[in-house]
């Protein structure tokens, strides 16, 4: 086949579009013949709220250059409140991407209604060009980056972050069990610090999976003060997620305990 398609790098953009608004908006865009670059590959989901951080981070691990999430406008969600959760989760995803060192701009959340066909073409065109400017994701070539993105993915699956991002909307709108509504800024700070901690712990586990490592070594790779690394290791040992190995000599090393038979 005479192929213009091979050769030069082209951005690989994955779209997750909600059935009721963004996917329908993309349909209308087609019906109206608004043109946009061919790079995007859309996956239909019933609601943007379905997209957990793991789905997005795993796609980045697989080498996507950009991920576009499309939902209904706030207040218009087919499932009433789904997109409020999406908004909160995207904030968490972006925080995790920042931690991992992959540009958080590679992930974008857009509200496109079923009547906004033209907007869909504009969003896709603009986002594709933005990814083109950012260049290819080096996740698959850069081992260090891959480890960090994998750590971000693992962190997103931690009980603490999933519970926090699930409860966040309720805590600021309906209040906690004591009927106190939490200050959204305060809650954001709590989530941010939990995100940082969970990411660092996941990264320690990620780095110590294949090879036992010392605190100093981990601190060096992670560019973290060793006391902070040690504090994480204490927590991870309490949770029985990491084990101390070869305490001979003066430098103990730590190795990740594999759970289940997945590895």
């Amino acid at each position: 086949m005479a192929d213009k398609t091979s050769g030069e790098w082209e951005p690989k953009v994955i779209g997750f579009l909600c059935n009721w608004c963004s996917y329908a908006g993309a349909d209308l865009c087609g019906v109206s013949r608004y043109q946009y670059p061919t790079n995007i590959r859309a996956v239909r989901v019933m609601c943007s709220t379905r997209i957990s951080p793991h789905l997005v981070l795993d796609i980045f691990k697989a080498g996507a250059d950009g991920v576009l999430l499309g939902g209904c406008h706030i207040g218009d969600c087919h499932y009433i409140t789904g997109n409020y959760y999406t908004e909160k989760r995207v904030r968490l995803m972006k925080r995790l991407l920042e931690e991992s060192g992959l540009d958080a701009d590679r992930l974008r959340l857009e509200w496109v209604s079923a009547s906004e066909g033209e907007k869909f073409s504009k969003v896709v065109t603009e986002f594709t060009e933005h990814i083109r400017k950012l260049g290819p994701s080096n996740v698959k070539k850069d081992e260090k980056l891959m480890a960090r993105v994998a750590a971000a993915d693992d962190a997103s699956e931690s009980f603490r972050l999933r519970a926090l991002s699930g409860k966040e909307f309720g805590l600021v709108t309906k209040g906690n069990v004591y009927n106190n509504k939490l200050d959204p800024a305060e809650l954001d700070r709590i989530i941010d610090s939990a995100t940082e901690e969970e990411f660092e712990r996941s990264l320690i586990l990620e780095l110590s999976r294949t090879k036992p490592r010392s605190v100093k070594e981990l601190g060096g790779i992670m560019e973290l003060p060793t006391d902070k690394v040690l504090r994480h290791i204490v927590v991870l040992r309490q949770k029985n997620m990491i084990t101390m190995e070869h305490p001979e000599g003066f430098t103990p090393t730590y190795k990740t305990i594999e759970i289940g038979g997945e590895q």
Binding site: I14, A26, D27, R33, V43, T49, G82, F159
Partner: protein
């Protein structure tokens, strides 16, 4: 439907049907090479192209291939699933293939129509999209749709005109209906009113036949002075706890629920001298005075429109008050004598008479009740100086007169013919009500003369908006249905589903979803009844197999999923684990993305399926 087990265990045998859609796809995508490419994909045993897959020969080619090649997965690459999925799913079912084993790939709206000038790239994208569809199809599982029986009994919350209309409609269709009304009698807000616009009849007289019909209907059970205390269940199977005031709670089994709890009049506390000067009343209080024929002697009446509404205390226009005020203005001009206090007509008092005692007490009592305070500190109404009553002047201070529709404009014209004065004010120059030398006065800015004018009046009637019931929030929590910003119930879709809630089995009618007049309330009540009757007449609801599935081995019973579900479709089972009520679940996936233990998955939207589909896009072409 094919044997479920057979499909689960068999290796996928995928058939791919690539549609040209005439030239809609074929003109911009190289369909033959795409179909050839599909044959090379894993587990694809058959691939072909059709001119129109949705035409009868296209559909029969699907049926034939399923039989001939023993296909257990079908992919159609054509237009959007949003319009054509049901057709192809039915075709698969017809050929014995579970409809959940069908995959739709959109290469028209999402490809050929949006990449019309790049045939090579569009063709490559079509290949990628089909590869993604194949990756998804390989992981699909057959699903069974759950049928849930519907209890053919309706519940109407609220016994005003909309609630009664809903109840009568359902009862006339043969369904037993319960009405729960918190007041001691039926009729709701309308009971307070004097007469209804356009008709000459009294309000009580107008709705009396409806009340009689409700009371006499063999299918209607009335629960007066009662409120809803608890709601459990889902469409078709609600258990609702109701209790009379201070009485014991009893349980009703109902299939559908209509919410028709009505609205209240906004109390303009602190506005325009309300509760400060005598003879400053709200529209409804004025109607009560008229109805009881206890109007004091008046020479000049001022109506002030939009008190508290349209951006002052509430954001919206209350829709009905222009017409109610016009009606009352005409009433005063036409029938003032008929509404005067009995003593007035006998002419025993001429110059200085008090506001009729009985009416005043009643109104003060109403105000006290609404404020929930005791009667202490309420001064008696002051006396008002009145002049002779042979000619009465009515002025309507308004921001705009919204006499919409067919009749109302004519009524407005009629009022003007009767020399009711309409004086426009703007929000920059609100009229002021004050008392000077024992005389009530209104100062206003005359927009045409650009002058401030003051006129003495004997009574000021404040047109205040209908506002949401203060306890609407409690009911919304019990039923798990939303309220809008102003505290009114929020329908599923503002245009297309105005009397449905997003939650199946619960419907809404009347002023509890926003201001409406009586005919509109009746329309909404009847509409809600017809919507509620659909599942009851059918006898069952069939839930699409698109729901959450809880893995009990992972669930810790933390309850986060229950908190985030907008439909109340999750509950704890007797083991303490989360359990999905399939009939109530809509499959949005919020619980799945939320579950801290990753114990919840969605049927045919599993992480594995979504990731396989998305990652297939990132693979280099095989």
């Amino acid at each position: 439907m094919t044997d479920k087990k057979a499909n689960e265990n068999d290796k996928p045998r995928i058939g791919v049907f690539v549609c040209s859609c005439g030239s809609n796809i074929g003109g911009f995508v190289d369909v033959p090479t795409v179909a050839d490419y599909a044959k090379t994909l894993p587990d694809v045993v058959y691939a072909t192209q059709n001119m129109y897959t949705c035409a009868e020969d296209g559909l029969s080619s699907i049926r034939e291939a399923i039989r001939k090649h023993n296909l257990n997965r079908v992919i159609v690459a054509s237009c959007t699933p949003r319009t054509h999925a049901p057709l192809f799913q039915a075709t698969c079912e017809g050929a014995g293939l579970n409809k959940y084993l069908f995959t739709f790939v959109n290469i028209r709206e999402h490809c050929s129509w949006v990449h019309m000038k790049e045939k090579d790239l569009a063709t490559k994208k079509a290949r990628d999209l089909i590869r993604m569809g194949v990756a998804r199809a390989r992981l699909l599982m057959p699903q069974e749709e759950v049928k849930v029986e519907v209890e053919p009994v309706g519940l109407v919350i609220g016994g005003g005109v909309s609630g009664m209309s809903a109840a009568v409609s359902m009862a006339d269709m043969g369904f037993p209906v319960h009405i729960v009304e918190k007041d001691v009698e039926l009729g709701g807000f309308v009971r307070l009113l004097n007469n209804l616009y356009v008709t000459e009849k009294g309000a009580a007289e107008t709705i009396a036949p409806l009340i009689a019909k409700v009371k006499g209907h063999k299918n209607i059970t009335l629960h007066l002075s009662s409120t809803v205390k608890s709601v459990e269940g889902f469409i078709g199977n609600y258990t609702v706890g109701i209790a009379p005031k201070g009485g014991e709670e009893k349980k009703l089994k109902v299939g559908t629920i209509v919410v028709a709890t009505g609205a209240l009049e906004f109390v303009p506390e602190g506005l325009y001298g309300y509760n400060q000067y005598p003879n400053v009343v709200t529209l409804t209080e004025f109607e009560i005075l008229c109805k009881r024929k206890t109007l004091p002697k008046l020479k000049s009446v001022a109506f002030i429109q939009c008190v508290g509404s349209r951006g002052q205390k509430v954001s919206y226009c209350s829709r009905i008050c222009c017409n109610v005020a016009i009606k009352n203005a005409i009433n005063i001009v036409d029938n003032y004598e008929g509404m005067l206090g009995v003593m007035e007509k006998q002419g025993t008092l001429v110059d200085k008479i008090p506001v009729e005692k009985k009416a005043t007490d009643e109104i003060l009592e109403r105000r006290r009740r609404r404020r929930g305070r005791g009667s202490e500190g309420e001064g008696d109404a002051e006396e008002v100086k009145l002049g002779p009553s042979d000619k009465i002047e009515v002025t309507v201070f308004n921001r705009d007169v919204m006499s919409y529709g067919v009749e109302h404009e004519l009524t407005y014209n009629k009022a003007r013919e009767k020399r009711v004065k309409f004086v426009r004010y703007t929000v920059d120059h609100l009229p002021k009500v004050f008392m000077e030398d024992n005389q009530l006065k209104v100062t206003y800015f005359h927009e045409t003369l650009k002058l401030e004018r003051t006129m003495p009046v004997d009574m000021v009637v404040l047109s205040t908006p209908l506002v949401a019931q203060p306890d609407a929030g409690d009911l919304s929590k019990l039923l798990k249905v939303p309220l809008g910003q102003e505290g009114f119930f929020l329908e599923a879709h503002v245009k297309l589903r105005p009397v449905d809630f997003a939650t199946d089995g619960i419907y809404v009618a009347g002023t509890c979803k926003g201001p409406a007049d009586i005919s509109e309330s009746v329309i909404q009540g009847s509409a809600a009844a017809s919507r509620a009757a659909i599942p009851m007449a059918k006898g069952y609801v069939q839930a699409e197999a698109l729901s959450s599935v809880v893995d009990e081995t992972k669930c810790t019973g933390c309850g986060t999923c229950i908190e985030v579900c907008p439909y109340g479709a999750l509950r704890k089972n007797e083991k303490g684990f989360a359990e999905v009520i399939i009939a109530a679940c809509k499959g949005c996936g919020c619980c799945g993305a939320t579950c801290p233990e990753g114990a919840i998955s969605m049927t045919n939207y599993t992480d594995a399926q979504l990731l396989a589909e998305a990652k297939a896009a990132l693979d280099e072409e095989v």
